[in-house]
Symmetry: C2
Subunit: 420 residues, 2 copies
């Protein structure tokens, strides 16, 4: 076997634990120096490959690579950039091959979601279509939890834990204030297409900690009258109500509520998201005092509150990706396979990218309660292990001690540049 | 000394650690049974006293009272309700005396901020003015950190830690995305009148972790041109910028930016807060892609990320309040006295309520950097110890295990009711 270098890149929205996957890839590659030379990371994802802006991860200490496990976001930079089809933009692929050949790259590890799986699949075909042999392995990552085949997606469990903890804490707060002040609290969460994160909000509440919750899923068209009745019923019964609303909530016409909203006096679109919109509606219709929060990036960057299950799986898929490559696989993705619910056991399986790319796994309807505002036992059974366990980062002076890599550039070998 | 019962109530906005003060009061009172009978808590604050809706804390187990230390928000309910002056509403005070006399209450512990200190001061005068002897001790609490005399206010350190950690984490996220996507991230934080919490955002950044930050303090009138230049300079130098903005940011005319904003097509005031407003302005003027978050209650309810210093001080002021009462004090508040910065040492002092009530401690101008967008070394020296140390709650099944007290009502003794 000849020894070749590896390329690793982070793609799309980052997560609290995507760097754990990077650590898994790099540490496992380092443990197989006979087969894998150096791991080059793309600076800002695939753009780094196209522009020959590579980072030499061999310049990083073992300690710093290990610290990636407790550092959120993308240590090498990510990007939102989708490769076109091989036939549409052949120049892109030829450029990739030039860069890969110049740096003797034979392994391509791409850490991302559904769009990225598509890119990874295209790269995997470079051997067959353009005669450049490369093994492309996709490393799953998305807070949206919408990749098919894999039981869950690394990154999701930590967001799920964040939103559940946050609404539980806010629930205690609102309960304290409801007598004379705030009666309704609205938290807007991510997940534009599928309601996985919205469902996770429902985990805040359990038999030991009842919290009057109303969830607004992107899958359930917003029905104002019914929603107001649900909120009012909870406030009248318990004194307050917490609402978890997906940023992707749609109206009956299938339009995003956040976009269907109003324009301001200058004709600007609604500044606030759907969270403040719903909160204001509650006040207009029911006259309850409200508060709202939009966690936005905080929810996906919150490494301080990461799920231990999620962290372990994120590391495991990075490690597995390298092992799959060493075993000769191409165009595959390590997938999380759930072996049992209670006790929760999982293992790594192999999913072909042809079955991953461009497919979204939607939230099953039987995860949403009959009235559309809560989650079912089945959803709880699925979600419970994913938020389990704590894995706090080290702290110094009261703040998490996250690593910043040196990110030393690999000297360029090509005369030609490439415009993105 | 005759044995009398105690009244304890939580007032105003709650915090991640106000229940630790409750634990301090109740546990210390229980340790002095010869002098203090039972501790009755007001259900929903002072309203519970006026309506004779008292909670018998002696019905709670020692374990549950201890669990208050790790449970956010107000376990007995709080309220926003300010007593009028003795001369303006004598009936309120006579009612209080009726309730206190009926339940043999000789100690009044009031856990709140500046308005509450004023109420506590008025209650302390019941002996002199209306002939009902009672000792009123104020237990400091406010995330706004604006009580005078005390070096800091219990509740503030945990919010400070939350906002610093959150913007540090979001900073890592934006740094990852900035090449092709989000370049500016805006976090709106609490603190309408004084910029203590805004200043705490600045702690996210230090020599080991530089983050391009711009802080918008309520003390510094918003200057759009200058602000845009500051954001642009950071984006051009580092690639991205994080903005921490106070909900109380004002324009040059002294009007709240959040209120000075636009109205929507229906004439409703701006739904979003000042956070989205600033974010949108950045896009309009500089064309940078933005994201924004409004943490709202999440920041003050986040017991999972409480500061250990803050937790210890919150418990200590509760304990000290009872000791002050036992020592015969009236109309005072235990205050945090800073003994030294490095190492940080503090003790409890005694502050007269006449010097606390209705006075706000503003952020000193020399805590804000010359350009108005950052914090000084002096601010860091002050803030550093307040966010130090972690004190995570126990977790079960991936979620913090917060206590819910039984909150058993004390049987009413008065025939008369009282309308709030």
């Amino acid at each position: 076997m000849n020894k070749r270098n590896a390329f690793y890149a982070q793609s799309g929205g980052v997560t609290a634990v995507i760097n754990a996957s990077a650590a898994g890839v790099i540490e496992t590659a380092r443990a197989h120096r006979a087969r894998i030379g150096r791991v080059f990371a793309g600076r800002n994802g695939i753009i780094g490959a196209l522009t020959e802006d590579l980072i030499d991860t061999s310049k990083e200490s073992a300690r710093d690579i290990a610290a990636l496990r407790h550092t959120p976001a993308g240590a090498f930079g990510s990007c939102r950039y989708k490769l076109k089809g091989l036939d549409e933009n052949r120049a892109q692929y030829e450029r990739l091959i030039d860069v890969f050949r110049a740096h003797d790259i034979g392994y391509f590890f791409y850490n991302g979601g559904g769009d990225s799986a598509d890119t990874c699949l295209k790269v995997s075909m470079l051997g067959a279509k353009l005669g450049f042999p490369i093994q492309a392995i996709h490393v799953p990552k998305t807070v949206d939890n919408d990749l098919p085949i894999t039981d869950c997606c690394p990154g999701f469990g930590s967001v799920a834990k964040y939103v559940a903890v946050s609404i539980r804490e806010a629930g205690y707060d609102v309960a304290s204030m409801a007598k004379t002040s705030t009666k309704v609290f609205v938290l807007e969460v991510m997940g534009r297409h599928a309601g996985w994160i919205t469902a996770a909000v429902g985990m805040a509440e359990d038999a030991g900690t009842p919290i009057p919750l109303v969830l607004l899923f992107p899958e359930i068209p917003f029905d104002e009258t019914k929603f107001m009745a649900a909120v009012q019923a909870r406030v009248e019964a318990v004194g307050y109500c917490c609402v978890g609303v997906s940023e992707g909530l749609q109206n009956a016409e299938g339009k995003l509520m956040a976009e269907a909203g109003t324009k301001d006096a200058f004709g600007h679109a609604q500044l606030g998201g759907v969270g403040p919109l719903i909160a204001k509606l509650v006040q207009d219709r029911l006259r309850y005092k409200y508060h709202w929060a939009v966690a936005d990036y905080l929810q996906r960057a919150a490494r301080h509150l990461a799920s231990k299950t999620d962290l372990e799986q994120s590391y495991a898929v990075g490690r597995a990706a390298v092992k799959l490559a060493l075993d000769g696989h191409n165009a595959v993705m390590p997938a999380i396979v759930r072996v049992s619910d209670r006790p929760y056991r999982w293992k790594i399986g192999i999913a072909p990218l042809t079955e991953i790319a461009n497919r979204e796994k939607m939230l099953p309807r039987d995860f949403i309660s009959g009235d559309g505002y809560g989650i079912t036992g089945k959803a709880r059974l699925y979600l419970a292990p994913l938020i389990k366990g704590e894995a706090p980062p080290p702290y110094r002076d009261g703040l998490p001690r996250y690593v910043r890599l040196r990110n030393v550039a690999v000297p360029k070998k090509l005369a030609a540049t490439f415009d993105i």
